[in-house]
Amino acid sequence: MFDLSMMMAKIVVILVGTLGVVPVMVWFERRGAAWMQGRIGPNRVGPFGLMQPLADVIKFIFKETFTPRGANKFYYLMAPIIALIAPLCALAVIPFGSKAFVNGHEVILQVAQMDTGVLFILAFAGLEVYPVILAGWASRNKYTVLGALRGSSQIVSYEISMGLALLSMLVVYGSFNPHDMVSWQQGSLGFIPRWGAFVNPIGALIFWISIFAETNRLPFDLAEGESELVAGYHLEYGGMKFAAFFMAEYVAMIMASALISTLYFGGYGILPGMEFAINLISNFFAFGEVGMQNTKAVFEFISLASKIAVFMFLFVWVRWTLPRFRFDQLMDLGWKILFPIALINLVVVTIGVYYFNS
């Protein structure tokens, strides 16, 4: 019973945390864009326009539920659901802290503890291609089909370089388990932390580029390409169905940021300087070992959240700076540049790890 309630609690934390951040992210995207472009941005609804996403949701809910003629209803309605659920499922494996003690029981702060954690994430990240294909095909529109073609080939191509970059990290960590990865990154390399990104910088860069393509964000937002394909694969979606796609994009961004933080940037490992704060608080309140561990768990969560926030900011920053690729150039980048580099990087890292360990 305790395990079950703890499990439910963790699921709620992840769900509420992620879906609650989405409106804030939407607001931040708009305000951030306005800030970069010398505009003001939404500032009418609520303080600093913070209630704007809420107003948008109300608008979406009251819009007509519209299905285009000749659309395949089942797949048409399925697509936004898969789009939203796949990245949420992948988040189940991301640890958001080491462990906490509740009523004397040890609770590992991760929804699903599995040794094949990273493979599980890859599997669900791979599912993200399905809503694109389904939405494009089932809408029965030439523009959506073009968007689906672009989106699906893009996601599949970049998954390969992403997988290779991930593989090079698995060689370094020697484990599929996210907890092991984070604990491997706890030490320090001289004055910098022993993060995956410093051990394997090329892999981190390739992975970072690939997650832009995976989440369909600019400069890789060809599947939507609003000036060419009008709105791409979700052209025929309106109201809450469109909102589901919209939210899915942000959930996928959060998932991708959490993944790159865990793999390359120390995950929930506490940021430099936080050790001091933990000791200070524990001593001040005279916490025992249990209290200290719980305090540490809170700071670990803050560390992960701030790392995710940095990557979310980068997503926004890049989006409002760069123009869009063309489809064939995107494929060239994926297959002719990133793929060979990722492959060579994997070999180099493997040799490096072999010599380092022997």
Binding site: R140, L149, L218, S227
Partner: protein, 404 residues
């Protein structure tokens, strides 16, 4: 799920499963500025064949020119290329003045040059900004649009309107410049080039931008001449031709500016040509601002001179004169004239045949967009859909001018 493959509609639309799919870009499409329509036969992303169609914004403006008096038709010139309304106003006023053998006063000519260069800047801003927007760089769009608004605010101070100005009058301008105009123009000329530098930093050496624009939508020298293209598009193809220098009008011979010429005729060159032309326009504006003389705004010609409002209210003869000009219109002598100026998009010409009286017998507009659009069809074939979008953005076809 079998219904998806067997439903009755799929029989009618077998093209859907054909590798050669027909797709409509426009008339209502975010990248088709205005209401242009391009029917494309695509294979994957490649456009194998294209057919352009015009006429979705046809308002019979030329015919209206034969039905309205010369002054009444001035407002219709605003609606030709609505991005550079001032330029159209002045070009039209110039055409009527040529039939009537009127030369505007020096102050009027300087004001007209300022107006034309301001509208050139605005038009180029729109072209570069929307081209960037179509290629996904939205920040460039907003950076430039801020300066477009500044320019419009200046125009508003001149004539009370922002978009549809109707500023020119035959033989003069409707208002003189406002008092603080010189300082405002000076400030604009100081600060606007900084925004251009910022845009250049964002785009000119940006790898993605270069990939998307270099070698895309190439119009060769021969093609440019064959399709009788004019303006920045022609110059980007490497032909050194600018009416401001080659067939000078107003104060242009006295002003110091360079004609910008590209070499490859691709989207990238057109972008660079437009950026540089904006800088040259700023140079012209600065020179005009220094040299603009005081003196009369209106020509001393009873046929066209619109009297001062104060005199209209106080003197009977002037009131009658004013009444005659506005109720009957000006009497243009018999004759015909084709007058063209270097508009922002190319050669903008007005052909007017007069058989006397207050209305034109034949009114014809030679618009640069029409030529640009006839060349468009040939140059997007074989390219990709995003290339067509990039190309269209870079030649700046304005539907109002195309269809008239």
């Amino acid at each position: 799920m079998s219904s998806f493959f067997n439903d009755k509609d799929s029989q009618q639309s077998n093209d859907f499963y054909n590798p050669n799919v027909l797709i409509n870009l426009g008339p209502s499409h975010p990248a088709m500025h205005g209401t242009l329509r391009v029917m494309c036969r695509i294979n994957g992303e490649t456009i194998e064949d294209a057919a352009c169609e015009i006429g979705y914004l046809h308002r019979a403006i030329e015919k209206l020119g034969e039905d309205k008096t010369y002054h009444q038709w001035m407002v219709y010139t605003d609606r030709l290329n609505y991005c550079s309304a001032l330029n159209n106003n002045i070009a039209y006023a110039m055409a009527v003045e040529n039939i009537m053998n009127i030369t505007p006063t020096e102050r009027c000519q300087y004001i007209r040059v300022i107006c034309m260069e301001l509208s050139r800047i605005i038009d180029h801003i729109i072209c570069v900004a929307i081209n960037a927007l179509d290629l996904g760089a939205m920040t460039v769009f907003w950076l430039l649009y801020h300066w477009r608004e500044e320019a419009y605010t200046m125009i508003e101070s001149m004539c009370g309107m922002r978009l549809t100005t109707t500023y020119a009058r035959i033989g003069g301008m409707s208002y003189d410049l406002p008092d603080n105009f010189s300082e405002r123009l000076w400030k604009f000329c100081e600060e606007f080039p900084k925004a251009l530098d910022e845009v250049e930093g964002l785009l000119t050496s940006n790898r993605i931008w270069i990939d998307r624009t270099k070698g895309v939508g190439v119009i060769t020298k021969e093609d440019a001449l064959k399709f009788s293209l004019t303006g920045p598009t022609l110059r980007a193809s490497g032909i050194d031709h600018d009416l401001r220098r080659d067939r000078p009008y107003y104060m242009y011979p006295d002003l110091d500016f360079d004609v910008v010429v590209g070499s490859n005729g691709d989207v990238y060159d057109r972008y660079l040509v437009r950026l540089e032309e904006m800088k040259q326009s700023v140079r012209i504006l600065q020179q005009c601002n220094k040299r603009i003389p005081n003196g009369p705004l209106w020509v001393d010609d009873k046929r066209v001179h619109i009297p001062d409002k104060l005199e209209v209210y106080t003197k009977m003869e002037v009131l009658i004169h004013h009444f005659k000009i506005f109720m009957e219109g000006i009497d243009v002598p018999k004759g015909e004239a084709f007058t063209c100026v270097e508009g922002p998009n190319g050669e903008l010409g007005f052909y007017i045949v007069s058989r006397g009286g207050p209305k034109a017998w034949r009114m014809r507009v030679k618009s640069p967009s029409f030529m640009l659009f006839q060349g468009f069809e040939a140059s997007i074939k074989g390219g990709k859909i995003p290339d067509a979008v990039a190309h269209l953005g870079s030649v700046n076809i304005i539907a109002g001018e195309l269809d008239r």
